[in-house]
């Protein structure tokens, strides 16, 4: 019962939905900002945070779910663009894309992300997403 109650709209987060969010969730501050804003966008009802690793691991159910989504959102911490490359490896392309270190004044480092940077990144991507969706 609890598990059922915890599902949003009766669906697993890994199921296909209108908008799926793929953070790189990398090891640096910017990778973790990507991870955190994916969580927050989902909490804000802007889409479902997806398992990027399911694409990289070529897990069929997850790849199929991603292919049936209406919009893919890619979030990379740095210009290496790992999440984007991961998606492209399966022929998927983010309709909305953000590179934290390129578009915000955040230097890549190996510390925990700062809340103000997370908030700024979240606001930027949320605006971009709202503009895209209309």
């Amino acid at each position: 019962m609890n598990e059922t109650r915890d599902r949003r709209n009766g669906r697993c987060l890994c199921e296909a939905s209108e908008t799926l969010i793929f953070p790189c969730s990398g090891a640096s501050n910017v990778g973790q900002i990507a991870n955190e804003i994916a969580l927050r966008l989902r909490e804000a009802g802007k889409g479902n945070m997806y398992c990027t690793a399911g694409i990289g691991g070529h897990v069929k159910g997850l790849v199929d779910g991603a292919k049936s989504a209406k919009l893919l959102v890619g979030i990379d911490g740095c210009s290496v663009g790992c999440a984007r490359k991961c998606l492209e490896g399966e022929g998927l392309h983010p309709g909305v894309y953000l590179v934290i270190s390129d578009e915000l004044n955040v230097k890549k480092g190996y510390t925990r992300p700062r809340e103000e940077d997370v908030a700024e990144a979240f606001n930027l991507l949320r605006s971009r997403l709202e503009g895209f969706v209309k």
Binding site: E3, S25, A38, T52, K85
Partner: protein, 135 residues
């Protein structure tokens, strides 16, 4: 890679799945904590997923590869294996009795349980440096 880059090779590299459920979040958090505790260094799994050369190369140079998957789908382990890497320590969060729910509620005690399990297994595991399927 540049100096002090996490993409540099390290003795023990930790790859969490960081997936889109509570257990993926716990995996990610545990990897960060293990890095802070100097048990190893969290690495960018997405770099393996994206076949990024520098990250593949630094992974090849590690002495131990540690994977933390949130659930039995084991996406992180599959990602590494797809790239030809064997995994030395593999912890599945749900395998520790932590229930996968479709939300992001996270109990710090659960994160600590994962950290403890990984730490124990790192200590008890002998280093291995071979790639599967490559001799």
């Amino acid at each position: 890679m540049k100096n002090n880059d996490v993409c540099e090779p390290a003795e023990i590299l930790i790859f969490p799945c960081s997936g889109g459920t509570n257990v993926g979040k716990i995996a990610n958090e545990a990897a960060m904590d293990l890095t802070a505790l100097h048990k190893g260094r969290m690495h960018c799994l997405a770099g393996i997923e994206g076949h990024v050369d520098s990250i593949i190369e630094s992974t090849k140079m590690a002495k131990k590869l540690v994977v933390i998957d949130g659930c039995h789908v084991q996406c992180a382990k599959k990602t590494l294996e797809h790239a030809g890497f064997g995994v030395d320590v593999h912890v599945v969060v749900t395998g520790l009795g932590i229930k996968k729910i479709y939300d992001f509620m996270m109990d710090l005690d659960d994160v600590n349980r994962v950290v403890d399990s990984v730490s124990r297994q790192i200590r008890g595991n002998n280093p291995r440096k071979e790639m599967i399927g490559m001799g």
